[in-house]
Subunit: 217 residues, 2 copies
Amino acid sequence: MDQATEKRGEQAERIAAGLRWEIVSGGLAAGAALRQEKIADSYGTSRMPVRDALRLLEAEGLVQMMPNRGAIVAPLDAGEFQEIYEMRGAAEGLALKLSIPELTNRQIERAGAIHEQAEHASIKEFGALNKAFHMTLYEPCARPRLLAHISGLNDLADRYMRLAALQLDYVRQSHAEHQALLDACRRRDEAAALAILSAHIADAGQALHKLLSAKIA
Amino acid sequence: MDQATEKRGEQAERIAAGLRWEIVSGGLAAGAALRQEKIADSYGTSRMPVRDALRLLEAEGLVQMMPNRGAIVAPLDAGEFQEIYEMRGAAEGLALKLSIPELTNRQIERAGAIHEQAEHASIKEFGALNKAFHMTLYEPCARPRLLAHISGLNDLADRYMRLAALQLDYVRQSHAEHQALLDACRRRDEAAALAILSAHIADAGQALHKLLSAKIA
DNA sequence: CTACATTAAATTGGATACAGAAAAGTGAAT
DNA sequence: ATTCACTTTTCTGTATCCAATTTAATGTAG
């Protein structure tokens, strides 16, 4: 067990990371009840760090806590989905604009490599790779708060994506748009890159919206 | 005492609200240590809900927690200041764009009233009124997550503003820009409103930047 | 049989207790 | 006087315990 190597004062983070993965990857369905004691048992701790972890995830929007009624995996909602994509557009547009002047060739190629990987990846890994691709392009902007914000939005978005990505040829379109975005970055063409990114996010939002509005709410 | 009317399960929120006010309003200086037991005593609770409150404020960026070393009021930093204003620009631009089509005359006049109030307010109240003015204009967009995000950014920004607002005639300029923004909203002129808001936020950022870079970091 | 009240079980929120880590203090050796 | 080792104190993180609240279950009256 890695519990022996666990430093004191970081259990909440460990539990939060585990739950985050389970929620984002779909292992825990939306609306599922999160009983403190069960989680505590499965992580070999008391309920106390679990509560801390749940608070963390609540702040990220992945968990919903009702006073005296416990926590559930945040439900999926078409309206919130739209909101997340609008916010992604604004935040990622800003990040890319600030990043482009700082982008090195090395970083662009790292994004390219992730892009290649994503092309041959299973649907399970797509979400994480998609996020990694975007984050790689934004990192040079060196805005920790902005990047954390975007990362959180991507986690939220992944949950919705997972619902639809199966039956959708959206993935192929996404690949093409990523390719175009990479090209624009290579040319350091800020205007083009921003336009492509904006369209990319809006497209994804719209494409998924139809599929989702049937499945949820 | 209002503690008798206090519902179970909401003490953390109450403590967080109190601390938030003390931090944003400047009662607690940046870098000040936040001892759990002292806070617990002053709010008449145990350390437990205090810890929850601190985690909340950490997620908002007002508090910084170091494992096994306690929490401090988040330090002020010129770089973060810039980042916050960039994010405000992106987020508030989006909110205003979505709001304008939904704005009723009644809501515009409510914002106008707050604007009037702010004109005769003391420096202590300026931050809160400034925030209220902006939030009133954004509320009609009906995007709870986006509004919460903006609210948090405004709280962060207020701390920096307070440092500079004293000696600055920025307040007068801000009033003028608010007036112009209101007029554009009354005309439902989206393009003008967005341009004014963008400039307003950028101006504020730049105006404060000079003053602050001397005082901090 | 249904609706309602009452009771019992499950579960959370908060308080207390304890263990471990960091910080402050003390003293000896150089 | 300064530095290093050691002790003491302070404070945080976690576990355990208790009270309050919600949810389920049971029984009773209509």
